[in-house]
Subunit: 337 residues, 2 copies
Amino acid sequence: MPKQVTIQDVAREAGTSVSTVSRVLTGSARVSKAKRVAVEEAIARLGFRPSHVARSLRTHATFSVGLLVNDITNPFFSALARGAEEEAIRRGYSMMLCNTDNDPDRELQYLRMVRDKRVDGIIFGPTGANGAQIAQIVGSIPLVMIDRRIDEVPAAAVVADNEGGAYRAACALIQRGYHRLGIVAWLPPMETLAHRVTGIHRALSGHDIPIESAPIIRVSRIEPKEVRRVVREWLTERLEAGDAPSALFALNNQLGLGTLRALRDLGLKIPDEMGLMVFDDLEFFEVTLPPISAVAMPARQMGQRAMRHLLDRLEKPGEHLHEVTVLPTEVRIRQSI
Amino acid sequence: MPKQVTIQDVAREAGTSVSTVSRVLTGSARVSKAKRVAVEEAIARLGFRPSHVARSLRTHATFSVGLLVNDITNPFFSALARGAEEEAIRRGYSMMLCNTDNDPDRELQYLRMVRDKRVDGIIFGPTGANGAQIAQIVGSIPLVMIDRRIDEVPAAAVVADNEGGAYRAACALIQRGYHRLGIVAWLPPMETLAHRVTGIHRALSGHDIPIESAPIIRVSRIEPKEVRRVVREWLTERLEAGDAPSALFALNNQLGLGTLRALRDLGLKIPDEMGLMVFDDLEFFEVTLPPISAVAMPARQMGQRAMRHLLDRLEKPGEHLHEVTVLPTEVRIRQSI
DNA sequence: TGTTAGTATGAAATCGATTTCACAAATGGG
DNA sequence: CCCATTTGTGAAATCGATTTCATACTAACA
């Protein structure tokens, strides 16, 4: 392995001191034209590239941020990661990808890791657990929450307008005559999902429909097969009892996909025998059988805004206001209702 | 911002020297029981966490690797990233995510960045361009290519069995009576796509069908709208001329999605009026209208294998054989043929 | 009991950059 | 023409860990 060329080598080659070389690298002080070109030529000749790790040790800045998300294979998070990454690279930062898999232990493990690696900041889609521990690990590292928030940790946040989107989507359902809604939700209590439920309830109340008439189907694991099974069994039972809802509202894209499959298993015609609305739109909902109505979240933009927020704060560390940015959602009506 | 606690503080608190603290941290030499517990208690009391950046400077290892892929929002790459990340975290490494967006300039920019950050290794899905420059930038950093390869850069690679998968899929088409195939491809010459074409050609030849009867539709930009437009126009023309193919074979998932939309634009019944086969399966192809037959690549496993390969090589730097791992593909027949 | 081998430890060097400090040379104002 | 700035430069300190080296102490053996 050929030894890395260091700033020392450059200084020697250019016939000057390391201080001067460092000055031309960082532009932190004036250097005479002659010396500058000598250094630049030496750098080019030797193919020198300053070591970020040495630099970081001295300057206490690594120019890297950690991105903790549930699961990058979920299109919502990959779009979000993309947005964040674009903003990061544009401003000279790199991004460490961490999949927490909604596992609180992995979440803690990863937080410790990025903290030990001295990232300058963290963008964090929390599982919702370990509030106190997280606050303690993160300490004073700048942090922006995405999608969800944790009360114990003081930080800025970028979230979607969950309640508003759910409200407008539910209104759309109701206006089309779907008055009996079934809500497909995930078991763990999460602020995000709670807001969506609130939005639906608000729509029901606004149309004088009792919210008790909209049962919530709770799935414990969000894995496709499980969702499909649970929804199918729940629906079968309700159909037999004769009090099935006329439309289902799935609270995220994975629940939506599982619900779609369950409906197809039961041979229910969408949208005639059962309406379907999903929170969190996917490109593919446009080409499913039938195309599915959904509430679209600006995932990419959320990532970008979160990263921008974080880097702005890093670059001018004056006020660190923990503001919450709420981005609008869009209801897209397709053939499923 | 409260000052970070350093190894010096721990040494003072434990009433010993930094050398001894370092020894209990790394376990590199024996330390008496008494001192060890004193140090451990001091560490716990102060909440000390050793700085990875200082450690890296000294040991020349950062325990981080760069992952360069085309676009993380493409499900193939996000599954691949997931596999790679799992293996990385399991072995104590972290991963920097870099989207090259198939832009050779961004690719170079990112390679320079991860090299300057002194990553221990790189997992690289190349655009195919800048062979010589890449070799020069990467220098002696261990590297594993994924999905595609570059001749100029000596490195191991993990790829899918493109030719075999395409061959078997084409056979399936031919057996079902689709003898006139249209191949939807991307314009830039890429080894991966070339192999897929080769597989299709081999299937045709094996069934005594001249390969000239299988025209290739070349799309310049892989963006959904563009694919849709090009395929639609091409097909319209062929239908009018009366020599349209009986089935289309799209060479990756994005081309497949665009092609599906084009077929729906034209109102062609799948699979009766036109068959459809896509290389690179997506979860969603199961619920499209109609469900689409596809060749599945083991994306997650590819990522995992690439990472395992890389880390194995980092951990025992003996033989660095640049072997090519070919993982099997699976043809999944659904209602589109 | 004297010599030797082994164990535990701390002082100091090191990794590769940035930054402070001291100082010489150049510049400028009166 | 002298003193006060300004400018350019290199030596040395620094960041926070690991590792080498020297040394004091123990245990073991003849």
